[in-house]
Structure formats: structure tokens, C-alpha cells
């Protein structure tokens, strides 16, 4: 009986965490739809077969890489070059999942972790790691990733089959959606913690130097993000010894 109750309680908790994850994923879904539609459109106009476009969103699930991949395809790059570019572009997720892994409940199985890893994007990572609770439920991450993944795939299909339904101006304005979401997630933390403020200002400075200094002209955005993330986090870890942020 006790075991049954415990099981029921766990199931209930799992379900709550899952729906909380879905709920947290809504802003991401709003941001993903127009971008995925744009991706579908771009792939369509670049002459990529529809099933390949759909498979990209299904198996890769990484916005920047998919855009770059289609662009490179259109430019006639080799498979090798495209795969290598994708790898460099996504290496930053190595840092993100290293950070996120430590926030997920310790008793989560490796299989679960491997499944959750598939859905880690810049957006789902940010949304999950800026949660107040220190220990994240795997069900929460699953709900969050699932909604983001669904929106990305639905959007891709809409882009491929419905074409440019939205007026150009609205489409272009929606390009800012995910940035606005990032701002919405970051700014409250900056308000509350001097450490976060310090790290943020440092990251702006480093990334701007990498972007605008002529010396770094050949550096891709993927590398710039990796270098900035490592430099600012390391500086924070060196100079801010107050522990948790």
C-alpha cells in the first residue's frame, strides 16, 4: 500500500514537472515558429528536397546549423565542410550541457540524460538553467524540450508547404523574438546579482572585441561564442568567490 501511494505521489510529481516544463516552453515555441517557417522557406527556395528539410529539423534540431547547412549546400560546399562547420557551431553546447548536467536531479538515469541531451538548444538551456530551483526535475526538462522540438518541426513543415503567408515586415520583426526572450531571462538576474552583472559586462566586452576588432575577422560566430563563454565564466570563477550567484 505504502509503495503504491509513493508511486502515485511520484507519478503526480512527474506530471506536474512535465506540465511546468511545457508551460515554460511556450515563449520558446513562440520564438521558434517564425524562425522554423523561415528555415522551411529558405530550404524550399534553395532546392532542398522536402523530406531532407523535414529530416533536418527532426534529426539535427539546431537552428543556426540548419540555416548554415542549407546556405552551404546552395553554395555547393562538400558534405565534409558542412559537417565540420556544424560541429564547430555546436561545440558551445558542450559547455552548456556540462553546466546543465549538474542541475538535473542526481538520481536521473544515464538513458534519461542521453534523451534529454538531444533537446538542449541555446533557448531550452537558458530557460532551464535560469530557473530558481537548484535541482531540476528531468520531467520538467523533457516537457520544455518537447514543446520546443514540436514547434520547431511544425514550423518547418509550415514553411515548406504554406510558403510566405506572413507579410515580409512582420516576418522580419519576429527575428527579434528569441533575443527578446534571452533579454527577458537575463535582465532579472542582472538586477539581483553583482556577480551576474560583472560577468555580463565582461561577456559583452569580449564578444564585441571578437566581433569588431579587425584581427579577429576570420573568426566564426560559433568560435566567438565559445571563447566569450569560457573567458567570462573563468573570470567570474576567479574573481567572484562568493559562491552561488
Amino acid at each position: 500500500m505504502k509503495a503504491l501511494i509513493r508511486e502515485a505521489v511520484t507519478a503526480k510529481e512527474d506530471q506536474t514537472a512535465f506540465s511546468a516544463g511545457i508551460k515554460a516552453g511556450i515563449p520558446i515555441a513562440v520564438g521558434y515558429l517564425p524562425i522554423a517557417i523561415a528555415f522551411g522557406l529558405l530550404a524550399q527556395s534553395a532546392g532542398v528536397p522536402n523530406y531532407i528539410t523535414a529530416l533536418m529539423s527532426l534529426l539535427i534540431f539546431a537552428g543556426a546549423s540548419q540555416f548554415v547547412g542549407v546556405n552551404l549546400l546552395a553554395l555547393g560546399a562538400t558534405t565534409w565542410e558542412i559537417v565540420l562547420t556544424t560541429f564547430i557551431l555546436n561545440l558551445r553546447h558542450f559547455l552548456m550541457t556540462a553546466s546543465l548536467s549538474r542541475r538535473i536531479k542526481a538520481d536521473t538515469s544515464k538513458q534519461w540524460m542521453a534523451l534529454l541531451a538531444f533537446g538542449v538548444t541555446d533557448e531550452t538551456f537558458t530557460m532551464a538553467s535560469l530557473r530558481k530551483e537548484q535541482q531540476l526535475d528531468p520531467g520538467f526538462i523533457f516537457g520544455l524540450n518537447l514543446l520546443a522540438f514540436s514547434a520547431w518541426n511544425v514550423g518547418t513543415w509550415v514553411g515548406v508547404f504554406l510558403g510566405a503567408g506572413l507579410p515580409e515586415m512582420v516576418q522580419s520583426s519576429m527575428g527579434i523574438a528569441l533575443y527578446a526572450m534571452f533579454i527577458g531571462l537575463l535582465v532579472p538576474s542582472v538586477r539581483e546579482s553583482k556577480t551576474v552583472l560583472f560577468i555580463s559586462l565582461l561577456a559583452v566586452a569580449v564578444n564585441s572585441l571578437l566581433h569588431w576588432l579587425p584581427v579577429f575577422e576570420g573568426l566564426s560566430a560559433g568560435w566567438a561564442i565559445i571563447i566569450t563563454t569560457v573567458a567570462a565564466s573563468a573570470a567570474g570563477a576567479l574573481f567572484c568567490k562568493d559562491g552561488e550567484v
Binding site: V30, F61, S99, R102, G175, I183, G184, P188
Partner: protein, 100 residues
């Protein structure tokens, strides 16, 4: 095999592996406090690196991107609901494009 299919599988693999390895391997490892802090600061530095300067070219003009960005910062500073921050940013960018 179809060359494009191979491409998708290759891209999928190099995207998945860097996501998966740390998730599976680092989860329960004890780390020195420097590395713990380093990992705990990654969300903030990564999010900033993603925002700036990428946001400047996120819409069809820098002016509209800056307007949308500033409105998002103000709304976020006031701790408005995240969805409203997103729509505020979009509306700000759209308004600029309608006006200029």
C-alpha cells in the same frame, strides 16, 4: 546511400555528441569549487554572447533591432511576464519598421 541523407545524419551526429557527452558523464562527478563556479556561470556568459552583437542584425534594420531590444530590456527590468517581453520586443521592432 543518398548523399543528402548522409549529410543530415552527419550533421545530426556532430550536433548530438557534444550535447550528450557532458550530460551523461559530468552529472554526478565531484569537482573543485573553481570548476563548480565556472560551470554555474556559463548560463550567464553564454546568454550574453548569444544576445550581443547578434541582436543588431536580427531584423531588417539595426534601428528596429535596437528599438525592440531596448523595449525588451525595459520590460524585463520591470519583471514583466516573459511572453510580454517577447511580444514587446517584436512590437517595438515592427513599430520602427512601420515608421521609418
Amino acid at each position: 546511400m543518398d548523399n543528402l541523407l548522409l549529410l543530415v545524419i552527419g550533421m545530426g551526429a556532430v550536433t548530438y555528441v557534444p550535447r550528450m557527452l557532458p550530460m551523461v558523464l559530468l552529472q554526478n562527478i565531484q569537482l573543485p569549487s573553481f570548476w563548480k563556479r565556472f560551470l554555474s556561470y556559463i548560463p550567464y556568459s553564454a546568454i550574453v554572447a548569444l544576445i550581443f552583437p547578434g541582436i543588431l542584425s536580427s531584423t531588417s534594420s539595426t534601428g528596429s533591432a535596437v528599438t525592440g531590444g531596448i523595449i525588451a530590456v525595459i520590460l524585463a527590468y520591470l519583471k514583466v511576464n516573459l511572453i510580454l517581453v517577447v511580444f514587446g520586443g517584436i512590437l517595438g521592432a515592427l513599430t520602427w519598421q512601420l515608421l521609418f
